[in-house]
C-alpha cells in the first residue's frame, strides 16, 4: 500500500516557497527533514512557529560526525494541527563550534543549550545560563564528543574490583562449578 503524503507535501510547498537555500526531504509519514546552513535555522524556526503553527518544541540534539569534522544540530518541532515532526538540521564546524542562540523562541531551549555547551563544547554567543549543568569540575574533553574515550578515563580514574579486570567469559567456570554442560545455543554467542 502506498502511503499518501498530503499534509507533508503541503508543508514541503510552504517551506520551499519561503526559503530558497534549504533542502527539504519527506522521509516518512509525519516526518519532514529540512537541511539548512546555520544562519537559516533561526528564520526557519521563527517562520514555522509564527506562520505554520509549529508551536511545540520537542527536541534539540547534537550529533558528532567526527569523520566529517562536523557537528550536526537537530531541532525537532511539532505542530498540533498537522501532527508533523519537522526536523531542522544544520551542520557546523567542529574545530571552533558556535551556534546562534535560539532560546528566545522557546524558553526550554535554554536547558538544551546548557547541556550541549557542556557535553559537546559548542558555544552559543549571547546565551545566558549557568555554566555548569550536569558535570562538576570537569577538565577533560567534553565527554559526549566521539574522541573522548570513556573506558580509558575509567581505567585512569577509578578503582576496579579484583577479579573483574579481565572481563572474561565466566560461563565456563560457572558450568564447571555446577556440573552442567553449556547448552549449544549459548556457545554461539561466545565472546571470541
Amino acid at each position: 500500500m502506498k502511503t499518501s503524503f498530503i499534509k507533508e507535501e503541503l508543508l514541503f510547498q510552504q517551506l520551499a516557497t519561503a526559503f530558497e537555500n534549504v533542502v527539504i526531504e519527506i522521509v516518512r509519514k509525519e516526518t519532514v527533514f529540512v537541511y539548512a546552513s546555520k544562519e537559516f535555522v533561526l528564520p526557519i524556526l521563527l517562520y514555522a512557529k509564527e506562520k505554520l503553527g509549529y508551536n511545540s518544541f520537542s527536541h534539540l540534539s547534537c550529533v558528532d560526525w567526527i569523520e566529517n569534522d562536523e557537528f550536526e544540530l537537530v531541532y525537532i518541532i511539532w505542530s498540533p494541527e498537522t501532527k508533523i515532526n519537522l526536523f531542522v538540521k544544520t551542520r557546523i564546524d567542529r574545530q571552533n563550534p558556535t551556534m546562534e542562540n535560539t532560546d528566545m523562541i522557546w524558553r526550554q531551549i535554554n536547558t538544551y543549550q546548557r547541556e550541549i555547551r557542556e557535553m559537546f563544547g559548542i558555544e552559543f554567543p549571547g546565551f545566558v545560563g549557568e555554566k555548569e549543568f550536569i558535570l562538576e569540575d570537569w577538565e577533560d574533553v567534553p565527554p559526549m564528543r566521539r574522541d573522548f574515550d570513556t573506558l580509558e578515563y575509567v581505567n585512569d580514574t577509578f578503582f576496579e574490583r579484583e577479579g573483574r579486570e579481565d572481563k572474561q567469559d565466566v560461563r565456563e567456570r560457572i558450568a564447571k562449578r555446577s556440573g552442567e554442560e553449556i547448552p549449544d545455543f549459548a556457545k554461539k554467542y561466545s565472546r571470541e
Binding site: T31, V63, D64, R107, Q108, F133, E136
Partner: protein, 367 residues
C-alpha cells in the same frame, strides 16, 4: 524594614526532594524570591554508554532512563528504531506493548498518589498506594521477570508472550486497584485541607505552558488537550477507546484532577486490551542480535509517559552500534527552567508539593 533573606538548599539530601537533585531557594520569610535548580547528581552517561553497546545491548540501559516508569523509554526507542528500519510490529505485539505501558502508567500513578499526599503531610494514602502498587509489580514480575526494570519492549515487538492465566490475574488486580483508588480519592480530594493547599498553587497559565513547552498532565491541567496517544497514535492506542482528562486552572489541583481522571482511563484501557487481545505472533523475528545492523537514518520516537511526552532521537550510521541516542524526558522541561520560574512567589511549604505535581524525576534530566 527590610526583610532578612535566607538561603535554603533543598537537597540533594533532603526528605522533600523528589529524587537526587537540589533546588537552591532564596527566601524572604516563607516566600521564595529566587529559585535555582542544580541537577547532575545522577548523571551516568547513558548516551555515551549506548554509543559503545550494540543495538541489542541498549535494552538493558534504556529502562534505567526513568526509574519510576521504566517502560516509556523502551517503547520510544523501539518506535524510533522501527521508523528507521521500517520494521513492522505484529498486532499482538502492539497490544502487549500497550498493556505494559498502561500497567506502568498505573503503578506510576500510584507512586504519584504517595508523593503528592506525602508532600502534603498525609502519609496514610502513600502507605496504602505504595503497598497496593506491589500488586501491579507482581503482574510485571510474572510477565517480564522483573519488578522494576522489565526490558520487555524490543524493536519489532515484545520479548515474550503472556503466561497462562495472566489475563484473569490482570482483571482481578484491576478490580482491586479500582476499588482502592476510590478510598485514596476520598482521603485526598475530599479533604478540605488538601483542597485549600492545592488550589491556586503553582499556577501555569496557557501562554506560559506553550512558551515553556510543558507536556503531559501539567499541560492538560492548563486546559490544552494534548496527548501523544491521541495526536500521534502509536502501538494499539488508535484502537482503544479513551479520553484525555482536560481541566482548567493550571494549578496543582487541576493537575491532580487530571491524574485522578486518567488512572481510571488506564484501568479501562487495560481491560479493553485484555478483552481484545488478538492472536498471532508477538515479535517480528529479528536477525542474530549480535550482528544486527540498522540502516543509516534518524528518527524521533515519542510516547506519552505519566508525566508527559517522552522522546528519543536516534541516529544510526548503518553500523551495529547507535551513532547517537538523545533522550528527552518530560522532566527535562519541567524540572529545570520551568521549576525555577514558577517557584518564585510560592511558599516554602509548597515546593515539594509543586515538584510532585509536575512529576520532576531527576534521572531523566541528566541521564
Amino acid at each position: 524594614m527590610r526583610e532578612k533573606s535566607t538561603t535554603i538548599y533543598l537537597g540533594p539530601q533532603h526528605p522533600g526532594i523528589t529524587g537526587n537533585m537540589m533546588v537552591k531557594l532564596q527566601l524572604e520569610g516563607d516566600t521564595i524570591v529566587k529559585a535555582q535548580t542544580h541537577v547532575g547528581y545522577l548523571h551516568r552517561a547513558f548516551e555515551k554508554l549506548i554509543e559503545r553497546r550494540n543495538w541489542m545491548q541498549t535494552t538493558t540501559i534504556l529502562c534505567r532512563f526513568c526509574v519510576p516508569e521504566p517502560d516509556p523509554p523502551e517503547a520510544a526507542f523501539a518506535l524510533a528504531v522501527e521508523q528507521i528500519e521500517g520494521r513492522e510490529v505484529p498486532e499482538r505485539g502492539k497490544y502487549l506493548r500497550s498493556l505494559v505501558l498502561e500497567l506502568a502508567r498505573i503503578q506510576s500513578f500510584l507512586l504519584w498518589y504517595a508523593g503528592q499526599s506525602g508532600s502534603a503531610g498525609l502519609y496514610t494514602v502513600g502507605q496504602w498506594s505504595v503497598g497496593d502498587r506491589n500488586y501491579v509489580l507482581d503482574l510485571f514480575e510474572e510477565l517480564t521477570g522483573g519488578r522494576i526494570y522489565h526490558m520487555y519492549i524490543w524493536p519489532g515487538g515484545v520479548r515474550r508472550d503472556i503466561p497462562v492465566g495472566f489475563k484473569d490475574k490482570v482483571l482481578r488486580t484491576m478490580d482491586y486497584i479500582e476499588k482502592r483508588i476510590d478510598d485514596y480519592d476520598r482521603m485526598i480530594f475530599d479533604s478540605a485541607i488538601f483542597q485549600k493547599r492545592a488550589q491556586g498553587v503553582g499556577i501555569i497559565n496557557k501562554e506560559k505552558a506553550i512558551e515553556w513547552g510543558v507536556v503531559g498532565a501539567p499541560l492538560r491541567g492548563c486546559g490544552i488537550a494534548h496527548d501523544v496517544r491521541k495526536d500521534n497514535p502509536y502501538d494499539a492506542y488508535d484502537k482503544l477507546d479513551f479520553q484525555m482528562g482536560v481541566f482548567e486552572g493550571g494549578d496543582v489541583w487541576a493537575r491532580a484532577k487530571v491524574r485522578q481522571f486518567e488512572i481510571r482511563q488506564s484501568i479501562s484501557m487495560v481491560r479493553q486490551i485484555i478483552q481484545n487481545l488478538p492472536a498471532g505472533d508477538f515479535l517480528n523475528k529479528m536477525p542474530n542480535p549480535m550482528k544486527w545492523t540498522i540502516p543509516a537514518g534518524s528518527a524521533y520516537g515519542k510516547v506519552e509517559s505519566v508525566r508527559g511526552e517522552f522522546g528519543f532521537h536516534v541516529v544510526s550510521d548503518g553500523s551495529d552500534k547507535p551513532r547517537r541516542v538523545h533522550a528527552r524526558g518530560p522532566a527535562y522541561v519541567h524540572g529545570v527552567s520551568l521549576l525555577e520560574d514558577i517557584l518564585v512567589g510560592e511558599n516554602l511549604a509548597d515546593v515539594s508539593f509543586i515538584m510532585n505535581s509536575l512529576g520532576v524525576c531527576p534521572p531523566e534530566i541528566e541521564r
